[in-house]
């Protein structure tokens, strides 16, 4: 049976079509790749948070996730490998009125871009990182990375990874992020609400999204196809209570990830702390105006 749309000739329009560049679809991601799920959650998250799309600027790095710049219908800047965060900082400092989002992958953000991540978190720079973690470098063929679990296989760890991976939420939390959460792409409702929450924070936020990579990581580690992998997410998830990561009480290892082990998810950190602008303002209150949005160039008329 065909869907009604085919039989009555109704024009098909996905509810979030206006936020994507339709002409670029179908997208380049593999069948079963979770990046598209995270992208949809992001778009819906922005709408839940009622943020004006004109003000949403997305900066992405190199890798599969970095290719979001091809699909989002808003200002998108695609940088060199590992460098979306400093680019985002430059944008945010000169245009504090913009909602600056960094949408990138595990290798881009935590290997080559690791230094920028920790310093942006340290500064509590109000940019919003959405870190898609598929445990490998997908775009370049499935090499291991800083989040590849111990013993997991990849093209550069063919007999299994012999290193400890990063625990992204604990890294972000220990560096000073004010909102840190981890979800899987199975957690679509909590993910979009968490993204909405993170966008409303006036500090450095990091939402880690565990995502299937069935063509490289998933296949190499015999996780099965995307349905198998998502079933594993569903079964392996452990929801931690909100604001779980208080330094005194919790052991960061409790939220670490392993190969085919439990996946602790949740909103680990949600605190309020002076952000970069607050701190800057305290020192430079005589000189600098917070929230300065005008520049020595002409501002354009907004469309519509």
């Amino acid at each position: 049976m065909t869907t009604k749309a085919q039989t009555n000739g109704k024009k098909l329009k996905h509810p979030i079509d206006k936020y994507i560049r339709k002409d670029s679809y179908p997208n380049i991601w593999c069948p079963g790749c979770g990046i598209g799920i995270a992208l949809q959650a992001f778009i819906k998250g922005v709408n839940i948070a009622e943020i004006e799309w004109n003000k949403v600027v997305v900066v992405s790095g190199i890798g599969c996730t970095g290719r979001v710049h091809m699909y989002l219908n808003t200002d998108c800047y695609h940088t060199t490998h590992g460098r979306p965060i400093p680019f985002a900082i430059g944008l945010k400092l000169m245009r504090p009125d913009l909602k600056v989002v960094v949408f990138s992958g595990d290798g881009d953000l935590f290997a080559i871009g690791g230094n920028h991540f920790i310093h942006a978190a340290r500064r509590n720079m109000p940019i919003h990182v959405i870190a898609i973690n598929n445990f490998n470098y997908g775009m370049t063929g499935g090499q291991g990375g800083p989040t590849t679990p111990t013993k997991a296989k990849s093209t550069t760890t063919p007999l299994g990874n012999y290193e400890h991976p990063f625990n992204i939420p604990s890294l972000a939390a220990s560096c000073g992020a004010t909102y840190v959460s981890r979800w899987t792409t199975m957690d679509i409702r909590r993910l979009k609400f968490s993204i909405a929450e993170s966008l409303q924070k006036d500090g450095f936020t990091c939402v880690e999204v565990i995502s299937p990579c069935p063509v490289s990581y998933g296949k190499t580690n015999q996780i099965g196809d995307v349905c198998d992998e998502m079933t594993y997410y569903m079964e392996a998830e452990e929801l931690k209570p909100p604001n779980w990561f208080t330094y005194e009480a919790s052991n960061p290892d409790d939220i670490s990830l392993g190969l085919k082990t439990k996946i602790p998810v949740g909103k680990f950190v949600d605190i309020d702390k002076k952000n970069f602008f607050d701190m800057y303002q305290e020192i430079y209150s005589d000189h600098h105006t917070k929230g300065r949005a005008s520049l020595p160039t002409k501002t354009m008329e907004t469309e519509g």
Binding site: M1, D17, P26, C30, P31, G36, M186
Partner: protein
């Protein structure tokens, strides 16, 4: 209107104002050319109302469809819409007359 057969009868309490509630009904639409046959929608529909069809799109991917006999059971939860990486499936809630 909710059919009695859809309700749990294993001892779960039934709200006394149940007759006032309308379980939403939805219609699922597929944007053929975007689908990549990942099958997440079929696999995870909580009401099991989707199946893979015999239709193919331009790229050779098989497309999902609503199961004929279960089409009325779509409750417009939009899980298929949210879980689709390709924005190839969406749900419209039908307004009861």
């Amino acid at each position: 209107m909710a059919k009695p057969s859809m309700l749990h009868t294993n001892g779960t309490r039934i709200p006394i104002d149940l007759s006032k509630h309308v379980i939403p009904r939805g219609e699922v639409y597929i944007i053929d050319d975007r689908c990549k046959e990942c099958s997440l929608c079929v696999e995870f529909c909580p009401k099991d109302i989707l199946e893979m069809s015999e239709r193919y799109n331009k790229k050779g991917y098989k497309l999902p469809q609503m199961i004929d006999s279960r089409a009325d059971e779509c409750i417009a939860c939009s899980f298929c819409e949210d879980i689709c990486p390709e924005l190839a499936i969406y749900v419209e809630e039908e307004v009861a007359v």
